[in-house]
């Protein structure tokens, strides 16, 4: 039982498809850089945030909270048995965040000034945008450092790994702190929307709701990915681990719903949940998607069934995405303004997913990311603390 590269051919149907979509995206981005946002997107002054911010950044980084969630679980709550899930989760988070961060540059009108965001003297440290921008940039860097052992194991002498191992705890700590900051700040970003955001979403609890739902989405992504990967590469299922993990997820979902509804009750807005027309439907659908996984994962049988787990994970991913989509676009009141993503915008977002898939596949095949079974032996996920220490040293 060890972490090792999976190996296998790099040119497959999946990678070729992803590569084509990536090239398409690169062309569109180049076109956008030369001819401006208007040439590719449907953005306007009423809708300066469109698909690229809402999907690539806000939803994308929440999807990429798997690494954050696993680090929280393994290193902060000291649940060493989940260690096998850390590195793949970290890898996905690393790509999710890096591409989310890069997509901000696509979305900035004068993209050549993007470095101003985090440069002292140019940056505006009183802005919540600065908090999000600086924090995400820093977190991307931290994740690449956290992932460095995988590169070192492949290419560098063991000595270098030891040196890095000594300071790694700093980056792991930052890797937990930074997402806590910016995932909640993404909620704070909506506070300045004021009355333009429907009161069902404009609540005092925006930051904790964004944070908790991001964690839910992160864990859901870990489950989703683990299921997908074990299926795609015909690896032994990590169902045992996932079953235990899903207990924590249920707890988070309950906390989210309690805050969501409790907050509305305290602010006296419960009636709005039912008499806001189309937005009520969106709100209830959103909450249904948050509630459904609790039901699915309530029994031990459900938690151990990969199919149920998969459905629950998809529900959570959809729930968090819909919450963000509603809060950033659909539940905002901008009289006279219209927005629907242009084909170019959609293709760029699709391209970003393609890059993530492509890079993930290449990385797991070439670098030690996933646990592989020793020849013939069954995979047992009863890793003890001592084993964890050993794998960290490896």
């Amino acid at each position: 039982m060890k972490i090792a590269p999976l190996g296998g051919p790099l040119i497959t149907k999946t990678t070729v498809t992803a590569a084509i979509l990536t090239v398409l995206m690169a062309g569109l981005i180049l076109y956008r850089f030369v001819f401006g946002l208007g040439a590719v997107t449907n953005l306007n002054n009423g809708y300066p945030f469109g698909l690229w911010i809402v999907y690539d950044l806000v939803i994308g980084t929440a999807f990429a909270c798997g690494g954050y969630g696993m680090a929280l679980l393994v290193y902060v709550l000291n649940k060493g048995e989940y260690h096998a899930l850390v590195r793949p989760a970290l890898l996905a988070s690393m790509f999710g965040y890096t591409l989310g961060g890069v997509s901000v540059i696509f979305d900035i009108g004068r993209w050549w000034n993007a470095w101003h965001i985090i440069t002292p003297g140019w940056a505006n440290p009183t802005s919540v945008m600065f908090e999000v921008g600086a924090c995400i940039t820093l977190y991307c860097l931290v994740m690449w450092i956290e992932f460095t052992p995988a590169f070192l194991e492949k290419w560098a002498p063991p000595k270098s790994r030891k040196a890095l191992g000594k300071v790694m705890y700093v980056f792991i700590a930052l890797g937990v702190l930074l997402p806590t900051m910016h995932q909640s700040s993404l909620g704070t970003l909506l506070v300045p929307f004021g009355f333009r955001l429907h009161p069902l979403w404009q609540t005092h609890l925006l930051p904790p709701l964004f944070l908790i739902s991001a964690l839910c989405m992160g864990y859901a992504m870990v489950v989703f990915e683990a299921t997908l990967v074990s299926k795609a590469y015909r690896r032994p299922s990590e169902a045992d681990l996932l079953a235990r993990l899903s207990k924590y997820i249920s707890g988070l979902l309950v906390a989210y719903l309690a805050l969501r509804w409790g907050g509305l009750a305290v602010e006296g807005k419960l009636a709005l949940a039912f008499d806001s027309g189309g937005l009520s439907t969106m709100f209830l659908f959103e909450n249904l998607l948050f509630a459904l996984p609790i039901l699915l994962l309530s029994s031990d049988k459900g938690r151990r069934n990969p199919q149920t787990l998969f459905i629950a994970a998809v529900c959570m991913l959809l729930a968090g995405s819909l919450y963000r989509l509603d809060a950033f676009l659909l539940a905002t009141d901008r009289p006279g303004w219209h927005y629907f993503p242009a084909i170019g915008e959609i293709l760029v977002s699709v391209g970003i997913v393609a890059v993530e898939v492509l890079a993930y596949v290449v990385f797991v095949k070439m670098l030690p990311v996933l646990e592989v079974a020793d020849e013939g032996g069954p995979v047992l996920h009863t890793v003890k603390r001592a084993d964890l220490a050993a794998t960290t040293q490896e």
Binding site: N42, N44, Q307, G336, F340, I343
Partner: protein, 373 residues
């Protein structure tokens, strides 16, 4: 300064102490003087010593004197007449004829090297200066005579500063400004048609307080008043930058107070502090551009009275932007069939993949459960 001297000011100038101190502070601020200068100014003005001033009029309309007298600042006329000793001023003199000329000569002799000479109006030099005479003496001769014994020479108005309107071609009398004639001592020029009375007042008060002239530029203009283009501080500047121009008098842009550049405003090539201190003490908007007329560049040689009023100015260094933001903002359109189809396609594919994936997982589990143990 003590209470006694302030009380003396009250009686001497008919000003309350508060108004007096406000005036001194305003003077200091106009000239951009450091903190504490207001107190020095107060001291200088309050002192019983009044510097004699000789004020000459030549080829001009008396507009500078008129605007100075009509400055609405509390009893400004009283201040300027009581603080300085105006020994000769053709418009304000009670005396006339040879009596007046005698007073001038007497004052010049008595205060040689101490009096301030203020010149208003251009000086004709053609044919020996015979086109402007006072008491039989040519303007040319008179200004030379008076400047010889003056402590400071101030040329007020565009006419005295550089020739102004009388010097505009064909200029049959050969009108020129004072600096062209008085070469042996610095001449402060305060151009404008009329010049802002506060620029003159500030210069005089500076001289009174510090015993020297304020810092001047290469054309002899006090830097505190003439170092910036009108365009720099113009209240309509934002419209220029945004590309909102009045195209003709009375059009929509003109009524809305847009930039007057396209109506020939000379603000972009004229140096003066009009937009900062305004004119005539009647509140905001009380200067040409504020009232909706383009600046004619009256204070600038080669522009005022030379360039046609409605000819386009040549911006000195503040240029219009290369492109302007759109006036009509596109508000975006709703869903297009194509993009909706793409979204639907992606959603459908994702759904399909999800369902297949879920089914396979179910199958997998069955395989496993059968194969297990």
């Amino acid at each position: 300064m003590n209470d006694d001297s302030l009380t003396a000011i009250e009686t001497k100038l008919g000003l309350s102490r508060r108004s007096f101190m406000q005036f001194c502070t305003a003077m200091a601020a106009t000239m951009g003087l450091p903190k504490g200068a207001d107190a020095e100014i107060a001291q200088a003005i309050a002192s019983p010593h009044r510097p004699p001033v000789i004020w000459l009029h030549f080829q001009e309309c008396t507009g500078c004197t008129e605007s100075l007298l009509r400055a609405d600042h509390p009893t400004l006329d009283a201040l300027i007449l009581d603080v300085i000793s105006l020994d000769y001023h053709e418009t304000l003199f009670a005396a006339a004829g040879h009596q007046a000329e005698a007073a001038r000569k007497a004052s010049m002799a008595a205060n040689k090297g101490k009096y301030v000479l203020i010149v208003e109006g251009a000086i004709p030099v053609k044919d020996g200066g015979i086109y402007c005479k006072i008491g039989g003496q040519t303007a040319l001769d008179m200004v030379k005579e008076c400047a010889a014994g003056a402590a400071a020479v101030i040329a007020i108005g565009s006419c005295a500063a550089w020739g102004g309107m009388p010097s505009t071609g064909p200029n049959p009398t050969g009108s020129t400004g004072v600096p062209e004639i008085i070469k042996d001592k610095p001449v402060v020029t305060i151009p404008g048609c009329p010049a802002s009375p506060y620029n003159l007042l500030s210069t005089v008060v500076h001289f009174l307080t510090f015993g020297k002239l304020p810092e001047l530029d290469e054309k002899g203009r006090p830097k505190f008043a003439y170092s910036r283009l009108i365009h720099e501080n113009c209240e309509r500047r934002a419209h220029f930058d945004a590309g909102r121009f009045a195209q003709e008098f009375g059009d929509e842009g003109h009524r809305k107070g847009f930039c007057l550049y396209k109506l020939g405003c000379k603000g972009p090539e004229t140096y003066a502090n009009c937009p900062s201190i305004l004119f005539g003490d009647v509140g905001s908007g009380s200067w040409p551009v504020g009232t909706g007329h383009p600046c004619i560049g009256c204070s600038e040689q080669g522009i005022g009275f030379t360039k046609p009023i409605h000819a386009l100015a040549e911006p000195k260094y503040i240029l219009p932007p290369v492109s302007y933001p759109r006036i009509v903002e596109e508000q975006g359109q709703g869903v297009s069939v194509a993009s909706a189809a793409v979204v639907a396609g992606i959603a459908g594919a994702a759904l399909g993949a999800g369902v297949v994936m879920g089914r396979n997982l179910g199958k997998d589990k069955d395989d496993k459960s059968t194969g297990k143990d």
